[in-house]
Amino acid sequence: MTPRNFTKWLPAIVIPAVIAVGALAVPLTAGAAVDLPDKTPAQVLALVGTSTVDALSGTIEQTSELGLPELPTTGPTASGNAGAASALELLTGSHTGRVYLNGPDNIRLQVLDNLAERDLVGNGSDVWLYNSKDNSAAHVTLPAKDAADTDATTHGGMATPEEVAAKFLAAVDPSTTVSVGTDGSVAGRSVYDLVLTPKTTGTLVGTVSISVDSETGLPLAVEVTARGQEKPAFRLAFTELSLGAPDASLFTFSPPAGASVTEQALPDTTSLDKKDAADHATMKAEAEKFLAGVTISGTGWDAVVELPAGSVPAELSSSPLLAQLTTAVTGGRVISTALVSVLLTDDGRVFAGAVPSERLQAAAVGG
């Protein structure tokens, strides 16, 4: 190749190089060092407590690398276990959502799926859920708020944020080290990084980090990192945030034409008739019985929760989805993720905790 020809090829070399440099440099500048005035953990917690942001619109991104297999989002399993699968699906994988808030009553959450969307619209006592995939809407009417109740929480004898912060720190002190990490930036805003580190080594959780906006005290990101891991196993963070009241039309919702609408009633405790009251009593008794069977061994981060035999519905424990998620160990089947392990013993008991599965097995044998 002659030198003259070489110059003709220069753009083909320079342009990809510039793009590569740009692709590397942009994330670096975004994460450029931020230096905020130093604060103690108590001061950062107090900052959260004094946060008065009640109107915002933002984009949230959630990523989880729990080490679970990706759940199929289409196909028979997805529709078969709609409830459980969609809850699990939200916890695994990555999601982008948008959130709009205005005051305590107006909220809109949008989970942006591929070619689809799930919406939650709340204004006052009306809550709408909409799923574009099957064009279905659900409506829930919340019981009217007790005015006296609201008063009590907002005005009556509340502890100051500083006091609450101090109490919280004292309460977690035996199990957790609370520190303020390096200042960073989330969604273009400078943040304090509140880091909770478990004192015990018996748990899977390495650190929990909460990014607190330095101006408003709004928590902007939560990261949970597993012990010995570099990248967070779970991260929920704003990628865009603007403070200010969003368009009011976002908080009104009327089900679109052709949508299947279901009206869902909440059990209303104030207007129960006798039959309902009886039902309620049995439900309550069952719940109490259930709770009585639950034992928690240990305290703090490495606590293990034990559910008695029969607490898992048969259709769930025999589900092929569960078989896909679990691995067989001596004494039962285990779901182990980066942060949480669950042991389903052969006799039907369930052990769970943020601990390695070996500990659950030991607890199952010992208990």
Binding site: W9, L10, A12, E117, S132, F253
Partner: protein
């Protein structure tokens, strides 16, 4: 030589013995084929660029092949609409292509469903044919050297060829969108449109959003066109360039579907192809539009530079 001169697609091109670039265009007998462009190139810069582009577009949109491809694209929404119209049972939500169940309620969704169906294969296929043919087609017919009589004509020719391919992207996308809207309006009721967020917008705004989606899809195809242009400069066999471009578009989509390669996904030109659904949210989510435009711009720059490097150093023998 005006851009509207009737010229047959290239078949008559090789019959021309040589360019007549010296005499004023009006005084010489009409040259046929692409040799006509050579006379245009000899004119002053600005005028000749426009004339060259006009000539390129005329040749492109006079080709029977171009019309056949556009007709095939127009047939996609028609087929979808007729199939949905003729089936008696209602479409189950969540089955088949997205939005298929909405068509019976609102004909305007025919265009969107047709775009979703045609983005993975049909649109890249037609764009691959046009972009792969740009330079290789001329080389194959032996008309390329006539186009390059004027000095410094190669860069301009490359730009004009790319503009022609981009114009086809616009035409192809609009064909699907407009034919979908027309057949939808003819066979189904038209009314307020339900967005993904569950909000409802009027017909006027929905037309605006459809145009935005058409713009998004057009932008999505520009990167592929640049790749096609580069491949087209590598060979004198147009079919090879077309096939390579189309295979690349399929490969990119296959790679995009493999979760093991998720570090690569944001760099694939097909990564944002189906994200135009963000324009159907309330409020509109512009993030994917911006990311897509940036990505396609990068592909245009990189493959444009590669095509430039190849084309200006190439020995043109035919």
């Amino acid at each position: 030589m005006s851009p509207s001169d009737p010229r047959e697609p290239a078949v008559t091109g090789p019959a021309v013995t040589g360019p007549d670039s010296t005499g004023p265009a009006a005084s010489v007998p009409e040259p046929t084929g692409h040799a006509a462009i050579a006379t245009a190139v000899a004119r002053p810069r600005g005028a000749s660029g426009a004339a060259l582009l006009g000539s390129e577009l005329t040749v492109l949109f006079r080709r029977r092949r171009t019309w056949a491809m556009l007709a095939a694209l127009a047939a996609i929404p028609v087929l979808i609409a007729i199939a949905v119209r003729l089936t008696s049972s209602p479409v189950t939500p969540g089955r088949g292509p997205a939005f298929l169940d909405r068509i019976t309620q609102n004909g305007l969704f025919v265009a969107i469903t047709a775009l979703i169906v045609s983005i993975p294969l049909f649109l890249p296929l037609t764009v691959g044919v046009v972009a792969g043919d740009t330079v290789a087609g001329e080389a194959n017919l032996g008309t390329l050297r006539y186009l390059l009589v004027a000095p410094a004509g190669r860069v301009r020719l490359l730009l004009v060829k790319y503009a022609g391919a981009a114009a086809f992207c616009v035409a192809a996308t609009l064909t699907v969108a407009v034919s979908g809207a027309l057949i939808g309006a003819a066979l189904f009721p038209v009314g307020p449109v339900t967005l993904l967020s569950g909000d409802t917008i009027g017909v006027g705004e929905s037309v605006l959003r459809s145009l935005l989606i058409a713009a998004y899809v057009t932008v999505s195809l520009l990167g592929l066109s640049a790749i096609g242009l580069f491949i087209s400069t590598l060979t004198e066999v147009p079919v090879g360039a077309m096939a390579a471009t189309i295979v690349l578009s399929v490969t990119a989509q296959v790679l995009d579907a493999l979760p093991q390669l998720d570090w690569l996904h944001p760099w694939l030109f097909s990564h944002y192809w189906l994200d135009f659904a963000d324009l159907l949210r309330q409020p509109i989510d512009w993030t994917s539009f911006g990311a897509n435009a940036l990505l396609q711009g990068g592909y245009i720059l990189v493959f444009g530079a590669l095509a430039y490097g190849r084309f200006v150093t190439k020995d043109i023998l035919s």
